[in-house]
């Protein structure tokens, strides 16, 4: 499988990052960049899940805190944290994650629908579960994640 990976149309490249102790995966084709700079300006009165805004090479990008989005306590900014920039329409949006770990190739066939116990409020944010040797990766549904709610 490994040798044909790049050419196999069933293969997806996933960027892996951690939110709390959960490993999340995002199709790399959706990722614009991963930014180390986490100088985020607060936006008061913004929806809870918006951590703030950041200066992305002269553009103002909204940064969404995935922890808050998943119903977790948000953390003080630390060195491990990264901003995964994705594009929605004409706008760049940053996703604040705890750390970025790896990029892996995943066979689409091995991504199974999310089991019923991860459904519920946050369940809609996942496309499916990819099983790696040791870990389970939650593949994110970006559209759902970026939906504007309040």
């Amino acid at each position: 499988m490994a040798e044909t990976a790049a050419h196999n149309s069933n293969m997806r490249e996933l960027a892996l990052f951690k939110v709390n102790d959960m490993i999340c995966g995002l199709d790399t084709s959706l990722v614009q960049e991963i930014n180390k700079q986490t100088d985020i300006t607060d936006v008061h009165l913004a929806p809870d899940y918006v951590r703030g805004v950041m200066n992305l090479r002269g553009e103002i990008a909204t940064v969404i805190d995935l922890r808050t989005k998943f119903g977790l306590e948000s953390l003080e900014i630390n060195d491990e944290m990264k901003v995964v920039v994705v594009r929605q329409g004409t706008e760049n949006i940053g996703l604040l994650v705890d750390s970025v770990s790896d990029v892996v190739m995943a066979d689409s066939n091995e991504i199974s629908p999310p089991p019923s116990n991860v459904s519920g409020v946050t369940g809609i944010f996942f496309d499916g579960i990819y099983t790696m040797e040791q870990d389970l990766v939650a593949v994110l549904n970006v559209d759902e994640l970026l939906k504007i709610t309040d």
Binding site: D39, T41, D42, V43, H44, L45, A46, P47, V50, V53, M54, N55, G58, E59, I60, A61, T62, I64, Q88, G89, E91, I93, L146, I148, D150
Partner: protein, 1064 residues
């Protein structure tokens, strides 16, 4: 159908034609205004415009455009030759014609399918109606008068109206047919046929042009041999040899047309000779020249392929993905003055130089060099920015001009008479704003004409001029542009609006009753309330007014409305100069920085810790601030945005969270805090330390409040911020979709250090905090206060000062020449009197306690203030320890309780008894000899026997004035208003009148007019004394016939003027 293949030529034509037509509307309207008295230059200008449109359209095969332009040209020609009078009817037809041309040209691709016969008929009729004036001209429109012109090879190239031709040949013009070759003479010289035509138009009379399609070569032909003749019919005074040089053609290609040929051609039946070619060939020819020239290969196929009859092809295929012409024109290009462009080039050059210097300085690590270069870079960048901005700026006249037409047409159809005045056309605004305000303004203007200004009969009945006035003006104010639309019509019926608002259930009665007229008028901007059917029935206004409001608000504009029933309506729009870069004030709150657009900024106020208590108070649960006698809703930005408050501890310099919650009542809170600390802290030593730290913080300058006074459209409010940083020009960046619901922000900006500052939306913020309700309550309170205060006395501007920290005093500002801050040590005591060296002389200093029984002024502070005023031809100063404020008040003066030498009376200001200082009293009590100086006239007995009538409604001022007039040796007569004054005049001999302006029954101006109108008194000197100073007031006074306009209590001026008039 002639498919227009050559996009560039077409685009050039469209752009140019639109430009030609740009100013035509107003020109036509001016022509109409002038009537028979024709301004030839103007008519010529319009004529030339149509003419070149016709030329270009003919060339491009835009038949309909050409026909319409041609018909219009005929009419204009007759006007030009004074054979037709430009009556309003004719101008109307021409205006419609230009509208039609405009729409045809904007959609040039499809223009040939448009039926224009009606317009042409109308134009012809307009010409024909002049038949009784000139038969010959009437014939001009007749087809039978066509003659055919040609050269040997092409005998029937052009067919042209005889009369028209005769016009062109006036003044000894020769007629030529110029034979260009599309490839050799045009394409290879980097020109377009349109350029050629334009050149011709500029040098002579260009009549028509045509391309010979039959000559177009074939695919297999050698390119060298190919040639596509392009013929132009041209009349000029130039001879053949001069013309050769000018057009750059070989002599063989310039065919002079003699009158013989003309007559020959004339004899032939024009109808027949023309038929075969003219129509189709022009049409079919159009597409071929350019493609043939640029890419010879497909060209030969063209004529055949597209040779379908012109109008048959209803929907032309958009070949080459050409977008609709209209869109292409809209924002494709911008005309920039060459000077500006040159300037830009120079600056770009400088920028490059600066960069080189910078690189050099950095490489050689030359710090001083870097400093110099960075300064230079700053300079060049801002200049560059300014220059680039200026290319986007356009005069607002572009928008205003179209209203001449709108108003004219509307008033005509509504049978109203309206005088439209346009002011400030030259004011420039960003292109995007200019484009966007057109529609809202049209709406407002239409509303004014339609519903504001009444019918002439109604106006006359109401005692107004039959002709309504509509004024459109634009001017700069505080870095913004103000546009005002002002009419003297019926105004808005707010009562009916109120009813409608009730029905729509947006407001309840109590709310509505509490609203001022202005707020009620503003209801027309409410959505739902202003749908066409509803409000037009009611108030007559409001058709889409909510849309106007929304549009303007989106542009960053602020709209304001003022209306008076029966007197008219004024709508003012404040707009930023540009949207991209806005000057802003940077402020901080908590740990964050914010930008506030200067547009919304009214002023910055710092409330010292000591004044917090008296200047900030609570109404209900809301905070308000006192500012020059006005109450403003006040809100802390930290509260509004739910920001954690911080302060910097004075001792540890650590940033801590502020626990204060109450702003207004500081004393109570600090007490609470102390209790808190006492409870928490067991260690007494520590407690003391803490307490000191906390009290330090409270009296240190840092504990003063910084208030930014903002304008949220119809009201102002104060915003407490932590600190004020620079004022900066910021670039506005939009916020993402997730933040769209955050109404507190208008965007964000990136600052020099890369950090982001949010831009506050001043109106949004006030909505979040519901400040308009607060403003409402505040106003009610103010009104109550006002009604309490009102005693018929007019307001005065007073300087509020402190004599001693406990004692507040007031000085009429009108008497003060200057206020100086001096060092106490600079005061010298000479001959027992205080003096200070001042402007090369010495300034005698006085203090109020020298005369009056008031707190003793001590020179204990390092600095003090001197209020300088003139007396007896020299300046003196009164010492004060502090200057507090300047305010307008109509608080009643109590001239009994505290009356004493040096004190005129007292009044309540800031809830404190305030003594009104008698500047002259103080000085003359100390220096009686100076009093002699000022009233010498009286002492000499010159004043004796003269009767002075004093007209004044306020008892206090009456006493004041009477006193010093009597002191000057005049006899005084008193009257408490204009009516009484006239009575006194009837009964007594009066030599001079001193009158107040603001009085009940009859005011000073009216009194002056009456006196001037009466023969017995028309030479009587009249001096107006008032507290309402200012240019405009003075102007009104002079217009009424007042001889001099002086400030009340300015005893010196008044006596010297009286003397001047009475001894003259």
């Amino acid at each position: 159908m002639a498919m227009i293949e050559d996009e560039e030529t077409l685009l050039a034509f469209i752009e140019e034609s639109l430009e030609h037509m740009d100013g035509i509307e107003s020109d036509l309207l001016t022509i109409e205004e002038n009537g028979e008295d024709i301004d030839e230059d103007l008519v010529n200008k319009v004529f030339r415009a149509v003419h070149s449109i016709k030329g270009g359209a003919g060339f491009l095969g835009l038949e309909r455009v050409k026909e319409v332009a041609h018909a219009a040209e005929n009419l204009l020609n007759l006007v030009r030759n004074k054979e037709l009078v430009p009556t309003p009817e004719r101008i109307s037809i021409l205006l419609e014609t230009f509208d039609l041309l405009n729409s045809l040209i904007n959609d040039a691709q499809n223009s040939n399918e448009v039926d224009v016969s009606q317009q042409i008929f109308a134009l012809k009729k307009a010409v024909a109606s002049s038949e009784e004036i000139s038969d010959e001209e009437a014939a001009a429109s007749d087809d039978a008068n066509l003659i055919t012109l040609g050269i040997p090879d092409h005998p029937d190239l052009f067919s042209i109206n005889k009369v028209e031709l005769a016009q062109h040949l006036k003044g000894g013009n020769n007629l030529y047919i110029l034979e260009y070759d599309m490839i050799k003479d045009i394409e290879q010289k980097d020109k377009t046929p349109l350029d050629v035509i334009n050149d011709l138009i500029q040098t002579g009379n260009y009549l028509d042009s045509k391309v010979d399609t039959e000559k177009v070569g074939h695919l297999e032909d050698d390119r060298e041999e190919m040639h596509i003749p392009f013929f132009a019919l041209f009349a000029t005074i130039m001879d053949t040899d001069i013309l050769t040089g000018f057009v750059g053609l070989d002599e063989s290609c310039i065919h002079s047309i003699s009158l013989d040929m003309m007559s020959q051609a004339d004899s032939a039946s024009p109808a027949e000779t023309v038929t075969s070619t003219t129509a189709e060939s022009t049409a079919a020819a159009a597409p071929s020249p350019e493609p043939a020239a640029t890419e010879p290969a497909p060209a030969p196929a063209q004529p055949a392929a597209t040779a379908e009859p012109a109008p048959a092809d209803v929907k032309p295929k958009k070949s080459g993905g050409l977008p609709p012409a209209k869109k292409m024109v809209k924002d494709s290009s911008l005309r920039v003055n060459v000077k500006i462009l040159d300037n830009l080039m120079t600056m770009a050059g400088e920028l490059v130089l600066t960069r080189n210097q910078l690189v050099q300085a950095v490489t050689s690590d030359n710090q001083q060099g870097i400093d110099t270069v960075s300064q230079r870079l700053d300079l060049v960048t801002s200049e560059l920015q300014e220059a680039i901005m200026s290319t986007r700026m356009q005069p607002i006249g572009n928008v205003f001009h179209k209203f001449k037409r709108v108003v004219r047409d509307l008033s005509k159809s509504l049978n109203k008479q309206i005088n439209l005045i346009i002011e400030g056309e030259e004011v420039e605004l960003d292109k995007t704003i200019i484009e966007a305000i057109g529609d809202p303004l049209t709406h407002l203007v239409r509303n004014s004409v339609d519903h504001g200004i009444e019918l002439p009969e109604t106006r006359v009945m109401n005692g107004k001029n039959a002709e309504g006035l509509l004024r459109l003006s634009a001017y700069h104010e505080g870095g913004q542009v103000i546009i005002a639309i002002e009419d003297d019509g019926a105004g808005i019926n707010t009562e009916k609006l109120k009813e409608k608002a009730m029905v729509s259930a947006t407001y309840d009665r109590a709310q509505l009753d509490g609203m001022s007229e202005k707020e009620l008028a503003k209801l027309i901007f409410m959505p739902g309330l202003s749908t066409a059917e509803q409000v037009t029935d009611v108030s007559g206004r409001g058709v889409g007014m909510d849309v106007v409001h929304t549009n303007l608000t989106e542009l960053g504009g602020v709209i304001d409305i003022e209306t008076a029933p029966g007197a008219g309506t004024t709508i003012t729009i404040k707009l930023p100069l540009t949207l991209a870069i806005i000057p802003s004030q940077i402020i901080t709150a908590g740990r964050d920085r914010f930008a506030i657009p200067q547009v919304n900024l009214v002023e910055l106020v710092r409330i010292p810790a000591a004044q917090v208590k008296e200047r900030i108070e609570k109404i209900g649960s809301a905070l308000v601030m006192r500012l020059r006698g006005e109450l403003l809703p006040l809100v802390s930005l930290c509260d509004a945005l739910e920001i954690e408050k911080i302060y910097i501890d004075a001792e540890t310099e650590k940033t801590l969270t502020d626990r204060r919650t109450n702003i207004a009542d500081r004393r109570g809170i600090s007490h609470e805090l102390e209790e808190d600390q006492e409870a928490e802290s067991a260690d007494i030593q520590e407690d003391n330390d803490e307490r000191r730290a906390s009290s330090d913080r409270r009296v240190s300058p840092a504990s003063a409040y910084n208030v930014v006074v903002l304008s949220a459209g119809d009201f102002h409010y104060g915003l407490i911020v932590d600190s004020l940083l620079d004022s900066e020009e910021i670039v506005v960046k939009p916020l993402g979709g997730h933040l769209r619901e955050c109404k507190a922000y208008a965007g964000a900006t990136i600052q020099g250090d890369g950090r982001i500052a949010m831009i506050l939306d001043v109106v949004g913020l006030s909505n979040i905090m519901n400040l308009s309700t607060v403003a409402e309550n505040v106003k009610n309170k103010m009104q109550q206060q006002e009604s309490r205060v009102k005693g018929g006395e007019d307001s005065q501007t007073l300087l509020i000062v402190q004599n001693t920290p406990e004692e507040q005093m007031a000085i009429p500002l009108g008497l003060v020449s200057r206020i100086e801050k001096i060092k106490t040590t600079d005061i010298e005591i000479t001959g027992g009197r205080r003096n200070i060296q001042y402007r090369g002389g010495s300034l005698p200093l006085f203090s109020v306690d020298e005369v009056a029984n008031v707190g003793h002024y001590e020179d204990e502070n390092a600095n003090c203030y001197v209020v300088v005023f003139p007396i007896g031809g020299k300046e003196v100063g009164i010492l004060m320890s502090e200057i507090l404020d300047i305010l307008d008040t109509n608080e009643k003066v109590d001239d009994i309780s505290h009356r004493q030498p040096g004190i005129l009376g007292s009044m309540i200001i800031f809830d404190k008894i305030t003594l009104l200082v008698d500047l002259y009293g103080v000085v003359t009590a100390v220096m009686p000899e100076w009093a002699l100086l000022t009233t010498q006239g009286g002492e000499d007995g010159k004043g004796e026997g003269h009767n002075v009538l004093i007209v004044e409604d306020s008892k206090f001022f009456m006493n004041q004035i009477t006193e010093f007039v009597a002191e000057s040796g005049y006899n005084t007569l008193q009257a408490e208003d204009g009516v009484c004054a006239l009575q006194v005049l009837e009964e007594n001999h009066v030599d001079l009148i001193l009158t107040d302006i603001e009085m009940p029954n009859m005011d000073g101006l009216e009194l002056t007019r009456r006196v001037r109108a009466d023969e017995r008194w028309h030479k009587l000197p009249i001096i107006a004394v008032t507290s309402v100073a200012g240019e405009a007031a003075e102007q009104r006074g002079r217009e009424a016939g007042v001889d001099a306009y002086l400030i009340k209590l300015d005893r010196e001026q008044i006596t010297s003027k009286m003397q001047e008039y009475l001894t003259a």
